[in-house]
């Protein structure tokens, strides 16, 4: 490669004078580095999602690379949000990837002053046992007027507006079979 050719490619002043780029803002402005720059999200898988905050239901594109979420952006296709997200929606990347998230089951014993870690299996077994025991202890076959009520008032549930429809469906179904009626969620607040 001749010296002048190298000079012409590397020295921006000369490169600008190359034919076809009179403004000097086109191909002649490229460097080796900028030519190989790719968007941060290039090649990432896109999973379609919905913002988990308020009830407007803005569309989200969740970008995943190597099994990790690398970004969450507004979905341009959504007829509701047309690609926009509010500050909370735009922060949902941090919501799902932040280190505030608790990743293990914790248990606080009566009068305990600290959490202790439990295995998921053991915790599930303990909770199932407590549901069964409380249900047995507090079962009400008839109310004070003698009408059949088939229920327990010893167990209650709260929460649902942040959950999926399928989750609420299974929750209500199980509680109804167990006779748990004090089931409530944020619609009441």
């Amino acid at each position: 490669m001749s010296f002048f050719r190298i000079l012409g490619e590397k020295w921006p002043l000369l490169r600008q004078a190359q034919p076809g780029d009179a403004s000097g803002l086109g191909s002649s402005a490229w460097t080796d580095r900028s030519q190989n720059l790719r968007p941060r999200l290039d090649g990432a898988e896109v999973h379609k999602s919905i913002c988990p905050y308020c009830a407007v239901g803005c569309g989200q594109d969740v970008y995943v690379r190597d099994g990790r979420i690398i970004d969450i952006e507004g979905d341009n296709d959504s007829p509701i949000s047309r690609g926009r997200l509010c500050p909370k929606g735009a922060a949902s990347f941090q919501l799902v990837t932040g280190n505030h998230r608790q990743k293990h089951v914790l248990y606080r014993k009566p009068r305990g002053t600290e959490w202790q870690q439990l295995s998921l299996e053991q915790a599930m077994e303990m909770v199932a046992e407590r549901v069964r025991k409380t249900r047995e202890e507090t079962w009400e076959a008839k109310d004070e007027k003698g009408s059949p009520v088939q229920r327990t008032l010893g167990i209650a549930h709260l929460g649902g507006a942040t959950l999926d429809n399928e989750e609420n469906y299974l929750l209500k179904k199980l509680y109804t079979a167990l006779g748990v009626i004090q089931v409530e969620n944020q619609a009441r607040i």
């Binding site: 919905i50 509701i80 500050p87 922060a91 409380t134 007027k145 649902g160 199980l174 409530e184 607040i189």
Partner: protein, 870 residues
């Protein structure tokens, strides 16, 4: 909300946010839409760009007000007077869209001669039973009709069965379509709102007549064949002891102006959680089963009783048995049949109010042993945080499922002596599971799993499925009849891998199938009451029509019109705008070319949307005198869930606190009720507990200011999804209060300094924001100051602060048991709170009771619903 359910037939926003662009006037009241629903607000801005007038009625000047053509400052808790004033203006200036009102609403219906209005009884309707503290609604009915069942939320008045479907004769009720009969609904409304004049609006709301009349003129000028207007509201309207009646007031305006079911019209309920509409449709609520099917009540001993009570004589609630039997088939499969009453005797019964506040007050008395809390943070988000913490401390066991260590999980840190066992299960985020949310448009949208949940994080779906499996195993060998429903419960779902339920399989069950052919159902009209169909939620039937996950449809907006019928799926039957039969005139023609939407083409209903009507029923169809059920829906009955097919200006049943919205002051106010001797809603729910002291009804010298609460753009509800994020916490780091310059001068508050806000329940400290955006109002000749309080903070998280909800008492609307947190009283002083109030909240109970010596006698309210008197 029954405000909408009782008026129109379904408890959901009647339109979709994108359609707001077609409005000619938009009134935003009880909502700070630009800050709390910013992305939906773009459609309000689109309307403004097309020339629409935007009105914001709110105690504070916010970014919504900044974008509006007119901001109307109002005293929190006085909206029914403002809206009632608009109704008065419409009626007295003859501005109602009568061509719409007469055929489509119950304006012409004649009411029972025994009915007496609040004007005659000084704040009570006829039928008040002082001994019981409730109304007997018998005198509210249509003349000559035994019963008029309300659509949706019918459980508010539990009844015993017998006599077959209710309201069969409702179509025979006399009507006067000239609207001249003194007892027709139109004339009763005129009488009821006769004193809701611009002068009264000024006296009670603090809104000058000129401003008020400007709103009235804009609304009425934009009504009729060519023009429409919309209302947007949020919890600024619902969280009152008269919350349902706030919504009813807007409903009446929209009916009178002919804005329902038409493009650019409707009532947009702006909800605050991703699936709060979904969690009401497929409820985690005590009083409902999926699809607004009421829970069994102890008064209804047999299936027949239950079906009699809940089946309507006309409209689509006449098919109630099909909806219920299909639900039982989805719940219990082959284990239920006609022979065992489709499993009805297995269902647990309610006997009254089992709502959140009642449950928590029971909890504080040790009546509840176990509590599941999933994705909610009641210690911060529900009123009277002290009571909430007391309740948790009295439990035997508590299970909290959330993303982070929220206050509800860590409440015991301040009371290490408490005996409660606490389990914290880490939850999977929305990106770590498949599932559907139902947004504020009643639109189901599917979110796809993008990555595996970390560590032991699990979705609620997997958690509850696993819990159910373990309980089924635990009860498998029981012979106790009470365990039969658990044994019979259909609890087998397709798993993607062991322990991970396929959410789509659950959606399949919700959508339902024909049990003979095994094919998925495509609309709720296919449901049968003979056990040959199963569906987990009848209003969601069709969401998996043709075996396709419809909520996952994502045809880009650029390739569709604004209705975007191929994006997601909305209930019912993918109708984006409810009651859209009303977008055509009685003959089925569009009211105008400009407002064309759904119309009759000579053979069927067609247009931009799925018609909210029987597809091939012509406008000329009239039922025979003995027709019942769906046959009784006339060609001019756009409100097909209602027993009479009409929108209800006047609610002859279904509401506990009156057929027409009436102004009552909040539980705690600063002025006496200038309308009636009765101060507060006589039917409101009070909770007389040691930790729940009330202030005087008004003029309480200890608590002279109006307090109201709200959300900020940068935080979400009780903070569980925002106070842990540095990006959001940095934007909005600290709890504060908003006060006017005048109040700051009066009390000695400095911008940026500390203030302590007190009520009889608690005291909290916060930073002070002195701003011209808060303005004192002149009410009944005196100056009324209002203090604004966001409520997002708590004791854990990246940014911490005192919780506003600690200040607020338990007191509720009777119809929906919603808390009153948008208008109450308190005091404010400069400086930080005393430390002891935080550590030993019991000391805050030293406050005096509500009825102080010297209180004027009529401020003493009839009390009712005292779960536990001290």
């Amino acid at each position: 909300m029954p405000g909408l359910g009782i008026s129109f037939g379904r408890g959901g926003a009647t339109t979709f946010v994108q359609d707001l662009q077609h409005s000619d006037v938009i009134v935003i009241q009880g909502s700070n839409m630009a800050e709390c629903h910013p992305v939906a607000f773009q459609w309000v801005m689109e309307a403004k760009a097309r020339g629409a007038k935007i009105v914001h009625v709110d105690p504070r000047f916010t970014r919504t007000s900044a974008m509006a053509d007119l901001h109307v400052p109002i005293r929190a808790g006085s909206d029914i007077v403002f809206l009632g004033g608009i109704i008065h203006y419409i009626l007295e200036n003859d501005k109602a869209f009568k061509e719409y009102v007469i055929p489509y609403t119950n304006a012409a219906n004649i009411i029972d001669p025994r009915f007496r209005d609040t004007e005659e009884l000084d704040g009570f309707f006829s039928g008040w039973r002082a001994d019981k503290g409730e109304y007997d609604e018998e005198s509210w009915r249509y003349q000559g009709v035994e019963e008029v069942p309300a659509a949706g939320h019918k459980e508010v008045v539990p009844k015993e069965g017998g006599g077959g479907p209710r309201g069969k004769d409702v179509k025979k009720a006399p009507r006067d379509e000239t609207l001249q009969h003194p007892r027709c609904v139109y004339q009763l409304l005129r009488k009821h709102y006769a004193r809701y004049t611009p002068e009264k609006v000024e006296e009670i709301c603090g809104v000058p007549p000129k401003t008020f009349l400007q709103v009235c003129e804009w609304l009425t000028q934009n009504s009729g064949r060519e023009r429409t207007g919309a209302f947007c509201y949020a919890v600024g309207w619902t969280q009152h002891t008269v919350g349902v009646q706030y919504i009813r007031s807007a409903a009446i305006i929209q009916m009178l102006l002919g804005n329902m079911g038409r493009p650019g019209g409707g009532i947009m309920a702006l909800r605050g959680h991703a699936s709060i509409q979904g969690s009401t449709d497929i409820p985690t609520l005590y009083n409902l089963l999926p699809g607004y099917i009421p829970m069994a009540h102890a008064k209804q001993h047999s299936l027949k009783d239950y079906l009699d009570v809940n089946t309507a004589g006309g409209g689509f609630w006449s098919n109630f048995p099909a909806y219920f039997v299909s639900l039982m088939k989805a719940y219990f499969g082959d284990a239920v049949s006609k022979d065992n009453q489709w499993g009805y005797p297995w269902l647990p019964s309610v006997t009254g109010d089992h709502s959140h506040m009642t449950t928590v007050s029971d909890m504080t008395q040790g009546k509840i042993k176990g509590y599941f809390v999933m994705g909610e943070n009641p210690v911060v988000g529900s009123t009277n945080g002290g009571m909430q913490r007391d309740g948790l401390a009295k439990l035997e066991w508590l299970v909290v499922r959330d993303l982070a260590m929220i206050e509800t999980a860590e409440f015991w840190r301040e009371r290490p002596e408490c005996e409660t066992e606490v389990f914290f299960f880490p939850a999977a985020a929305h990106t770590e599971k498949d599932g559907s949310f139902t947004n504020t448009n009643r639109l189901l949208q599917w979110h796809h799993k993008a990555v595996e949940p970390p560590g032991d994080c699990k979705s609620e779906l997997d958690f509850v499925y696993e819990l159910g499996k373990r309980l089924k195993a635990a009860y498998a060998s029981s012979t106790d009849p009470k365990d039969k429903p658990i044994q019979a419960l259909a609890w087998n779902y397709r798993e993607i891998k062991p322990g991970e339920v396929d959410a789509d399989a659950v959606l399949e069950e919700i959508n339902g199938k024909n049990l003979v052919t095994g094919k998925p159902l495509s609309k709720y009209g296919e449901l049968k009451d003979d056990g040959t169909t199963a569906a987990g939620c009848w209003i969601y039937v069709g969401c998996r029509a043709d075996g396709v996950n419809q909520p996952a449809r994502r045809k880009p907006q650029r390739e569709q019109d604004w209705v975007a019928r191929e994006w997601g799926w909305s209930w019912p039957d993918n109708r984006r705008m409810l009651y859209n039969r009303a977008s055509a005139d009685p003959d089925g023609k569009p009211w105008s070319e400009r407002k064309r939407y759904v119309y009759w083409n000579g053979e069927k209903w067609t247009g931009f949307d799925t018609a909210d009507f029987i597809p091939d029923r012509p406008p000329s169809y009239r039922p025979g005198p003995d027709d019942t059920g769906v046959k009784a829906i006339s060609g001019i009955d756009p409100f097909i869930m209602q027993v009479d097919g009409k929108a209800w200006l006047y609610a002859p049943s279904g509401l506990l606190d009156g057929p027409m919205p009436t102004h009552y002051e909040p539980e705690e106010g600063v002025v006496p009720n200038a309308m009636y001797r009765q101060e507060c809603n006589p039917r409101r729910l009070e909770y007389h507990l040691r930790r729940n002291r009330y202030h005087r009804a008004f003029d309480d010298p200890r608590y002279p200011y109006v307090l109201t609460t709200y959300r900020l753009t940068e935080h979400h509800t009780a903070g569980g999804m925002s106070r842990w994020l540095s990006w959001l916490s940095e934007l909005m780091p600290e709890m504060f209060c908003e006060v006017s310059h005048e109040l700051a001068a009066e009390v000695g508050l400095k911008n940026g300094g500390w203030a302590t806000v007190t009520t009889a329940r608690a005291q909290i400290e916060c930073r002070v924001l002195v701003t011209g955006r808060m303005r004192p109002l002149r009410i009944q000749g005196r100056t009324v100051h209002q203090i604004g309080l966001p409520y997002h903070w708590g004791s854990t998280g990246l940014v911490r602060g005192d919780s506003t909800n600690d200040l607020i008492a338990f007191v509720a609307d009777p119809n929906v048991q919603i808390q009153e947190s948008k208008a109450f009283t308190g005091n404010i002083r400069p400086g930080r709170r005393e430390q002891r109030y935080r550590i030993e909240p019991e000391l805050a109970e030293l406050a005096e009771p509500r009825d102080l010596p010297g209180l004027r006698p009529y401020a003493t309210q009839p009390m009712q619903h005292n779960p536990e008197k001290e």
